[in-house]
């Protein structure tokens, strides 16, 4: 009756590795690795010359997780909240990071914000261009066909979804705008 033994039957032979692989074993000592121990003895990081970081100005209205006791001293100012998406985001920040509602509302706000950005791009005279902004031209210049066809790629079974995700809303918006325009014209003729 077969049984599993105490040792691996096929332990790797390491005798030739040091010749074959540059640097083999240079970090072999588990205690002598940069990430060990995980937590270092308490002390400021190299370069620090302050006790407490100064506060960055512009703190008013800056959203924060309700798991923070206060607004941390330094923060990013990339893209402040605004518009309808900003209202939705503020709602999300009422929930802690532990709540699915926090993240799902933020994801919803992201979609609202993308729509706002697209609409605004028309108003600003630089409309979004789904051809150039998706970089899809690279399909023609960087072997789009040959990179996929004939290769055993696991992503080939869902690649068809991407054009729908990207182009679908644009097609839907065009259809809705067309229908609305036609209805408006018909309404005007009736009058």
């Amino acid at each position: 009756m077969p049984a599993y033994p105490a040792d691996r039957p096929n332990d790797p032979d390491t005798s030739a590795l040091v010749e074959r692989i540059p640097g083999w074993g240079v970090d072999a000592d588990p205690a002598d690795r940069p990430a060990v121990p995980k937590e270092l003895p308490v002390g400021p990081a190299p370069g620090v010359h302050w006790q407490v970081p100064e506060e960055q100005p512009g703190r008013e209205g800056r959203e924060r997780s309700n798991e923070h006791a206060f607004l941390p001293p330094v923060f990013g100012t990339s893209t402040p909240m605004g518009g309808l998406s900003g209202i939705v985001r503020r709602r999300a920040y009422r929930f802690s990071e532990a709540r699915a509602a926090h993240w799902l509302i933020l994801l919803a706000a992201d979609r609202v914000a993308a729509t706002e950005a697209h609409v605004r791009s028309f108003a600003e005279g630089r409309p979004d261009n789904p051809i150039t902004e998706t970089g899809v031209k690279a399909e023609l210049t960087h072997h789009g066909w040959s990179s996929r066809v004939g290769a055993k790629r696991a992503d080939n079974n869902h690649a068809w979804i991407d054009p729908i995700l990207v182009g679908g809303p644009w097609v839907a918006a065009t259809v809705v705008a067309g229908l609305a325009g036609r209805a408006a014209v018909r309404g005007a003729r009736r009058r």
């Binding site: 074993g25 970090d27 001293p73 923060f75 993240w103 869902h158």
Partner: protein
């Protein structure tokens, strides 16, 4: 200045934006000379990371030249060539004081579960990133380092995240000499993790992916034994069969949120955003490691729940180690390894793309076209 700008899922463009200004006395403004697109940027690009706002500039891998410094900056001067870790960190909070620089508590108002990361949504602090001509670098006395004269700029760029993270992932796996290590994912981080596993004395390194050209790179760059999971009905059974039906001692998930290999998991996570990430590679890691073994996770996942097989992890008595990489802790040793010729980081760079063509760069990397392993953005002129 010219900067990459996110416009919504799958859409980016280059726009004029104001040059960033000093907002805190320890800020620096860096003129970017090299940036990279990271695999984790694709999670943003695909709209998976909550609170990713149109108008944000991505890019947490960059190097450049100091253009301006704030009033309290002592360790950098205008004109210094600097490499900047992807972590924004203060150096003095509870976590930084213990070396957990990627978990800084003083730089991210938006979330307590993650530190600050350049160009990585408001969930990671709302900082613009380096896929631009200029970038604001907070805590300039703590994060950035002057690039050594002898270092290739592209190697310096790769040290800001991908190489440091791959090396860190191999350390998280707690590899002992002679052990068998499986790395899921032959992207940049997976390649570096596989190469680093040998530094730690691994006896056997196996890399799993579904892209043949990346597996070829895993063989040539990382000296790994490779398998294409798309060629197997059940890759876990195959891995068990080639590891004495015991499993590997240590397994590294270097894939993260957009793992392929299970249609339902991938679509619910990457397309429908109903999971924080598609945990296919993570579940395979849990199933292919031996009982009592270690799973290392440094592939990035979003903050929403994911369908992870914790029951198997529990019943097998696994240790799961994970974190975002505290980059600067890895640098001195990696500088030595590069200088000693143990590896040449930019051997994995396949595409050098001008900023103005960044939309094509994202598409090529996202769709895995043209043999793309690592695209970097180079400044023009």
């Amino acid at each position: 200045m010219r900067a990459m700008v996110y416009r919504g899922p799958y859409k980016v463009r280059v726009e004029e934006k104001p040059v960033p200004r000093i907002e805190h006395p320890n800020d620096a403004i860096v003129r970017v000379t090299h940036a990279a697109i990271c695999g984790s940027d694709l999670h943003l690009y695909h709209g998976m990371m909550p609170d990713t706002r149109p108008g944000m500039t991505f890019g947490h891998e960059f190097i450049g030249v100091v253009e301006k410094v704030g009033g309290s900056v002592r360790n950098l001067r205008v004109g210094d060539r600097v490499m900047v870790p992807f972590n924004v960190y203060c150096g003095t909070c509870y976590f930084c004081a213990r070396g957990l620089y990627s978990n800084c508590h003083n730089v991210n108002p938006n979330a307590t579960a993650v530190g600050g990361i350049y160009g990585y949504s408001h969930t990671c602090g709302g900082y613009d990133g380096g896929q631009a001509e200029f970038v604001r670098v907070p805590f300039a006395d703590v994060g950035p380092s002057v690039i050594p004269e002898w270092m290739d700029p592209e190697d310096a760029l790769l040290l800001t995240d991908a190489l440091a993270t791959g090396y860190f992932g191999a350390q998280l796996a707690d590899i002992r000499p002679g052990e068998t290590v499986i790395v899921f994912g032959a992207g940049p981080v997976g390649l570096y993790a596989a190469r680093s596993a040998w530094f730690m004395g691994a006896g056997r390194v196996i890399v799993i992916d579904h892209l043949e050209y990346r597996l070829e790179k895993a063989r040539s760059f990382a000296f790994a034994e490779t398998y294409n999971f798309a060629e197997y009905d059940d890759i876990v059974v195959h891995l068990k069969n080639i590891t004495d039906n015991i499993g590997a001692d240590r397994v590294i998930d270097a894939v993260g949120a957009e793992a392929d290999g299970n249609f339902l998991q991938h679509v619910t996570a990457a397309k429908l955003k109903l999971q924080g990430g598609s945990p296919v590679a993570l579940n395979w890691a849990i199933d292919s490691v031996r009982k009592g073994g270690t799973v290392s996770v440094m592939g990035a996942y979003g903050p929403i729940f994911s369908a992870v097989k914790f029951g198997d992890a529990l019943n097998k008595g696994l240790t799961i180690n994970m974190n975002q990489c505290p980059v600067k802790r890895q640098w001195p040793r990696l500088f030595d390894h590069i200088r000693n010729g143990y590896l040449k980081p930019n051997d994995i760079v396949t595409h050098r793309i001008p900023l103005e063509h960044i939309a094509e760069g994202y598409h090529i990397f996202s769709s895995k076209l043209d043999g793309c392993v690592k695209p970097i953005i180079v400044a023009e002129g």
